[in-house]
């Protein structure tokens, strides 16, 4: 969320995003728990404050009641009427906690607390030293004033939301600090690639141009093979150069969309990669129907090149690459090493590679995904380890041309 503002590093990898989300989730949970604890402490302190106010009043009532019990005890059994008051209800229990007499509305009593809330009543217990009428415990009951409760809950909600907002601001600040080293390292890598790319252009162009110009008819077979290898190597570097250029320069440029004849484009790109595929004796099988799409041709070329390049790179010797093109989709299928299920979701991450035996920066499929996402296309990967990988790209109906559309 924060990193996306910077276009140079807007491709935070999903693992980094998930780390960020995990940090935010943890931070939110911890902040909520702290607020909850503070809320509970505040509630308890307010309750205690209310109890301390009520305690004074109830102690005074209890003393009055004890006097009445003393009188009744003295005159018992000639007087048998239990003392009652308009201010409170009361009950007496003996030392064995057996009820002697009660006028309590809520008979749920607790012998171990001096003052407590019981339903909508407050109970206060006085422990008697002289057991008048056998009473060890004198319970007094009054109605609870709910005003403190509503005030406390309102305060908790308002203060809680305010604190959460303040903590969220602090959280964002901390996330900035946390992400800075990660951003710096990605930026460093991007800058390195950008700088390196500038230095690659001239030598690659020179090599490829000179290889094309060389007359192979006058060469001995040994030199022909050497030149062939130079051509393959130069094309590999050229492909990498184009990826890097796209990543560092073209990616942020305005797209020049036009109708592309995909069948023709596939045929061109397959021809381009034939020499590279030949180095591993990989055979192309093409099943191409006419299809046209409204897209930037440079970007579509990057998608096709990267998919074919990967299909060659991760293929077996004497393997095959099948390309199927239909009006609404295309599939690039290889007979390569395949990808483990657990790694399929990570293949589109920048700087991620299937294995370390093959070269590359791990940016090809990341570029493919960014272009696919930019045009709202859909890409899916099906892979069986040891058997091969199918990559299917589906087009948007709005961007597909008619069979005769070729403008």
């Amino acid at each position: 969320m924060l990193a996306l503002k910077n276009k140079d590093i807007n491709l935070l990898r999903s693992s980094e995003k998930s780390s960020l989300l995990r940090f935010l989730a943890l931070y939110t949970v911890l902040a909520t728990m702290i607020l909850l604890l503070l809320g509970i402490f505040y509630y308890k302190s307010q309750e205690e404050l209310m109890f301390s106010n009520e305690r004074i009043k109830l102690s005074s009532y209890a003393n009055e009641q004890v006097k009445e019990l003393k009188l009744l005890h003295h005159y018992f059994p000639s007087r048998t009427e239990y003392p009652r008051s308009y201010n409170f209800n009361s009950a007496i229990y003996d030392i064995e906690r057996v009820k002697i007499f009660s006028t309590l509305k809520n008979s749920d009593v607790n012998f171990d607390k001096e003052i407590y809330r019981s339903g909508d009543k407050i109970h206060f217990v006085k422990y008697l030293d002289d057991y008048y009428l056998g009473a060890k415990y004198l319970f007094l009951e009054i109605d609870e004033d709910k005003e403190w409760y509503s005030k406390t809950i309102t305060n908790i909600i308002i203060l809680g939301i305010l604190t959460l907002v303040i903590m969220a601001i602090f959280g964002l600040f901390f996330v900035h600090i946390l992400l800075r080293p990660m951003k710096n390292s990605i930026m460093l890598l991007d800058n390195f690639i950008k700088d390196t790319t500038h230095e690659l252009n001239t030598p690659i162009t020179a090599i490829l141009a000179n290889v094309e110009m060389m007359d192979t008819n006058v060469m001995v077979e040994k030199n022909k093979k050497k030149l062939h290898r130079i051509n393959i190597a130069a094309k590999t570097v050229s492909h990498l150069y184009q990826d890097l250029t796209f990543l560092t320069l073209n990616h942020n440029q305005q797209s020049k969309d036009e109708w592309i004849d995909l069948k023709k484009l596939f045929e061109d790109r397959v021809e381009y990669f034939t020499i590279l595929a030949g180095s591993k004796k990989v055979t192309f099988y093409l099943d191409l129907n006419y299809s046209a799409i409204y897209m930037d041709i440079i970007k579509m070329t990057r998608v096709i090149d990267n998919l074919i390049s990967n299909a060659i790179k991760y293929n077996k010797r004497l393997g095959a690459i099948t390309i199927i093109l239909r009006k609404e989709y295309f599939i690039v299928k290889d007979s390569g090493i395949g990808i483990e299920d657990s790694k399929v979701s990570a293949i589109f991450e920048r700087y991620s590679r299937f294995n370390n035996s093959e070269g590359g920066f791990g940016i090809g499929l990341n570029i493919v995904k960014s272009i696919i996402d930019e045009y709202g296309l859909k890409i899916s990967v099906e892979s069986v380890l040891g058997e091969g990988t199918d990559i299917r790209v589906e087009f948007l109906k709005a961007s597909i041309g008619n069979g005769d559309s070729n403008d």
């Binding site: 005890h73 018992f76 048998t80 002697i100 057991y131 056998g134």
Partner: protein
């Protein structure tokens, strides 16, 4: 036939009367344990048994506690364990040990508790 009915009725009535009589005797016997063993001596004291019950109640509170304390005192009366005032003890001294066995003592104490129990009397 009528004679037989009259005879059977008379026999049944006699049987019922005998049973009722025996229950009453038992009841009286129970009361007698308290009345014969407690009231005669306390009758001549200025503090009634009711007053003494209230003293016990004020000191021991609960039923089990009171009964246990009273039983212990009756079996082993001591000045220190008496609930009565020093003035009372100085004048009338502490009573003699009870001659009742445990079962009789429990019966007498239960009758005493039921007789003066405040719980059923409070309104």
């Amino acid at each position: 036939m009528i004679k037989r009915i009259i005879v059977i009725s008379l026999m049944l009535s006699a049987l019922l009367y005998a049973e009722t009589k025996s229950e009453n005797i038992k009841e009286n016997k129970k009361e007698n344990i308290y009345e014969h063993n407690c009231i005669p001596c306390h009758r001549y004291l200025p503090s009634s048994l009711g007053d003494m019950y209230m003293r016990y109640l004020k000191t021991f509170s609960g039923e089990m506690t009171l009964k246990a304390a009273l039983k212990a005192f009756l079996k082993e009366p001591l000045e220190q364990t008496s609930v009565m005032s020093n003035l009372f003890i100085d004048r009338f001294s502490v009573k003699d040990k009870t001659l009742l066995n445990d079962k009789q003592l429990d019966e007498a104490i239960n009758i005493y508790w039921d007789l003066y129990n405040v719980r059923n009397k409070l309104k």
